[in-house]
Amino acid sequence: MKEILTNFGSAEAAAQEKDFFGALGIDWQLLVIQTVAFLVLLWFLAKFVYPPLTRMLEKRDEAIEAGVKAAGEAEKKAVEAQEETAKLLKKARKEASDIVAIAKDEAAAMAASADAKAKERAERLVADAHSQVEKDVVAARKMLHNETIELVAMATEKVVGKAVNAKVDSDIIASAVKDAR
């Protein structure tokens, strides 16, 4: 840098001297040197910097392209997945709907069955109750019958014991003998 400034100062001083290029501020030597330096720099860049850079850019382009492609595929897959999801969702909804319908049918069947069983049970209970009532009535009638007979027998025994005298007894015996013949 220091050298460039020095050269620049020399060139300026030369320009003040005589030639046309000098008047324009062009120093041939410096121009050549700069040209050579530029060419060297260009060669260096072309040899060592541009190829890896180009490769890197190509790789980057490839990566980007691959990324774009992947993004496209991903988008496609996403769309497909969305469609699949929609299908699955639709299928799941249908299945859920079917399940709900089946559950409703089963619930209705169960309710009907439970209803029928409850009805049958109630009818059986009523029938049992009727049967039990009939049995109780029969038992009560039997008991009443027996108690009536016992009471009649006891009352007859008491009454006859007091009412029968020798005359009545003779009549009873005569009747019994007559019946026995």
């Binding site: 007979i149 027998a153 007859t156 025994e157 007894d169 003779s170």
Partner: protein, 127 residues
Amino acid sequence: MAGRLTRRKIAVYAADRIVGGVAVKTVLRDIAAYLVDARRTRETELLVREIEDVLAEKGVIIADVATAYPLSSSLRTEVGKLVDGKTVYLRESIDESVLGGVLVDIPGQRFDGTIRRKLTALRAKQL
């Protein structure tokens, strides 16, 4: 010494004598003497029944008649006609538990025309 006489033989002997016209009192006295002598007085009741059975076989019926009140002569005749036999004796007893009517017991047979039996029959109709 003779062997032990069976009740049946004694009964047949006594019945034959009674049917043969020997007084009952005489026959019974002889039998009683034998039972005392043979130390078989415990068999008296059984022997009497045996004699009655043998008499019944020979047409002499001894009927036990139970009534609540004493029988009149006409009823006694009527009751006697209930029993089939050449000769019928009625052994009467008063039993108030019959309530009324007559109960006639003869060997192997019974006629129950009492009110007690009718009440018993009524009670038997209980369910």
